[in-house]
């Protein structure tokens, strides 16, 4: 049964690739690949975004090993020094190397946002799939609950959740996950709902598959492409959210290196002109978010060329 689904999507992507194919001289070895090449050529920024993403992952994995200084080591002799050869991004008020701290912080920021998005992806998909498949009261109840969550300004709700659960990194992750759940649940619900009575679903039912199996292996995979776009856009937003929370003093505690808290610490020195304390963590944060946003836009072009804006 899976084959029917996958060959159907293959056919769709071959079709869309053929529609675009005249523009590309590349040999259409595989439809999806040709389409990918076409999209990358059309919008080289997407390629750049994937490159920056690889760099971020590299910094997150190997960052602590390659940085020149210990991110926590204070040095009273070189305090608040502007960027130089020895300290690329300067030093902070305790003489810590800003470059090392910025690179090491990548891991924590990525872990927070990836964990939050993964949590909301799983919970949102589960709730949305069930509501979309069963319809009726389950669907109505879920929609009401999601509406209520969306009735809060989301960052404010995250603040409230962290305040109620307690001030820790884990709770930052939960809060970010909670405010992201509605986006996934709605998306999956819509995708599942339109395929609930599709031909392949009925065929799968007729050949004796259980509801859970149909939902998980036949319908849900169809929702994955738009979900991937959502994940990428959400990751950028989750990083901003987590950094914002730690900027106002929630979650991550000093002296842990994290971009939001580093900008907060740097903000105290900005009025006396020490710009490098806040600039570099802020820029890294911006680049990370930009990467995820560009990647999301690029993925959307690949997945759904019609929705380009």
């Amino acid at each position: 049964m899976n084959k029917i689904v996958s060959s159907a999507t293959d056919a769709a992507s071959v079709n869309s690739a053929q529609a675009n194919a005249p523009a590309t001289p590349a040999k259409p070895k595989s439809g999806a690949f040709a389409h990918l090449v076409y999209v990358l050529r059309e919008n080289p920024v997407t390629g750049l975004a994937f490159g920056m993403f690889a760099l971020l992952i590299f910094a997150a994995i190997f960052g602590p090993m390659i940085v020149p200084y210990d991110p926590l080591a204070t040095d009273a002799a070189s305090v608040l020094q502007p960027p130089s050869f020895a300290h690329w991004f300067g030093t902070d008020n305790l003489g810590r190397d800003v470059f090392s701290r910025v690179v090491v912080a990548t891991r924590l920021d990525l872990v927070i946002s990836v964990a939050a998005v993964a949590l909301s992806f799983v919970i949102g998909s589960f709730l949305g799939a069930i509501a979309g498949y069963r319809g009726g009261w389950t669907d109505i109840t879920l929609n009401r609950v999601l509406d209520t969550i969306m009735a809060f300004p989301l960052f404010v709700l995250a603040m409230g959740v962290v305040a109620a659960l307690g001030n820790s990194v884990a709770n930052i992750i939960y809060a970010t996950a909670i405010i992201n759940i509605p986006f996934y649940a709605r998306l999956v619900r819509a995708e599942v709902n339109i395929r609930r009575n599709a031909g392949f679903t009925l065929a799968a039912k007729l050949s004796g598959n259980s509801d859970a199996r149909i939902l998980a292996f036949h319908i849900f995979p169809n929702a994955l492409p738009p979900m991937m776009v959502q994940v990428s856009l959400n990751l950028g937003w989750a990083i901003l959210n987590a950094a914002g929370l730690s900027f106002i003093g929630l979650g991550v505690r000093p002296p842990t290196p994290e971009w939001g808290i580093m900008v907060a610490e740097g903000a105290n020195f900005i009025v006396s002109g020490e710009w490098w304390l806040a600039l570099f963590p802020g820029l890294s944060l911006m680049i990370a978010v930009l990467t995820f946003n560009l990647m999301g836009d690029g993925l959307r072009d690949i997945v759904d060329p019609r929705r380009r804006t």
């Binding site: 659960l165 900008v263 802020g282």
Partner: protein, 341 residues
């Protein structure tokens, strides 16, 4: 007109279950989660007996449904509880600080619309041109900028380097006196009594935080304006209008723009959610004495009643703003909502 009246009433009625849900969530956040408010309220010197006493006094020993009814009753009387740190009722604190936040938010939104809407229209009328590219770049950069970081950098450039902005501390420099309280909006109050020196002083303080917030909201508004204008311009009625020989200005603003306005106004609802959240960060950066910085101070000392009061107030504000936006639809587009569901 009668039809319009009923549809407005229906829309207002629809907001009630949402508000109820908001209250339930806020109640769950305050009461049903780990952490014992009784211990908090009893203070540091509390013995087990005084904690029990406080628990009974706060009504926390009763079952949850009963507590919820009591909570509802308190809400209806406008009682959001006492702030542990300041000892004042949360509602008075919020009410006295709300105008500052609203003044900042609204001026940022007006500023943002003034820039974003023309930018989106320009980009849509010349797709692929340099102005379109700039729009696209600006939009992508705008969403990626952390508000608190933009604020800090603006302070560095305009206060430290150029010295043209006043020090980023609050709504008004201490050399000025606060204008007499009428609306709580300093710009309006100062203008009402004709004190233009204070008005200018307040404006100078407002510009940087308003720009910070506006930069953040520019992106969704400009993007949506561009997309809505593009789809409006490619529609049949525009082709007909062109064929009928109407002037390009009339086609653009009289027909295309008016139809493109609806999705733009819808986006405003989403933008409000962002702005109210980002407000908190901007208020902290600029030491703006609004409800956001109040909540941040309360969060740091774990003053739960104050934080929950703030969350609830923000949610009510947001629901109210969305209601206003929905009602604005029928003004912009008479087709909307009159058919009735």
């Amino acid at each position: 007109m009668a039809v319009r009246g009923t549809s407005v009433l229906t829309r207002i009625a629809q907001a009630i279950p949402v508000l109820f849900g908001v209250i339930v969530i806020s109640f769950v956040l305050t009461r049903a989660l780990p952490g014992d408010p009784a211990v908090q309220f009893a203070g540091i010197m509390a013995t087990p007996e005084t904690i029990e006493e406080t628990r009974a006094k706060l009504g926390l020993d009763k079952p949850l449904p009963e507590q919820f009814v009591v909570y509802l009753g308190q809400l209806f009387q406008g009682d959001l509880g006492q702030s542990v740190s300041t000892g004042r009722p949360v509602l008075t604190e919020l009410a006295s600080r709300l105008p500052a936040s609203l003044e900042l938010t609204l001026s940022a939104l007006v500023l943002s619309c003034l820039v974003a809407v023309p930018l989106g229209v320009l980009a849509a009328t010349r797709p692929g041109s340099w102005i379109d590219q700039i729009c696209r770049l600006l939009v992508t950069m705008g969403v990626s900028l952390p508000t608190f970081f933009t604020g800090v950098m603006l302070i560095y450039i305009f206060y430290y380097l150029l010295g043209i902005a006043p020090s980023p501390l609050g709504r008004l420099d201490f050399i000025y006196l606060d204008p007499p309280h009428v609306t709580g909006f300093f710009l309006i109050d100062a203008a009402l009594v004709g004190d233009w020196e204070t008005w200018f002083g307040a404006l100078k303080q407002l510009i940087l935080p308003a720009i910070t917030l506006a930069l953040f909201t520019l992106a969704p508004i400009a993007r949506m304006t561009r997309a809505a204008m593009l789809s409006a311009l490619s529609s049949d009625y525009i082709r007909t209008a062109r064929a009928a020989g109407l002037g390009s200005g009339r086609i653009l603003y009289g027909y295309a723009f008016r139809n493109a306005l609806l999705p733009v106004v819808t986006t405003l609802g989403m933008v409000f959610s962002f702005v109210l959240g980002a407000n908190v960060l901007v208020e902290k950066v600029f030491a703006w004495p609004g409800i956001g910085s109040y909540a941040v101070e309360a969060l740091i000392v774990s003053d739960y009643a104050a934080v929950q009061g703030f969350v609830l107030a923000m949610a009510f504000l947001f629901v109210f703003l969305n209601l206003v936006i929905d009602l604005a639809y029928s003004l912009i587009d008479p087709r909307f909502g009159t058919s009735g569901k």
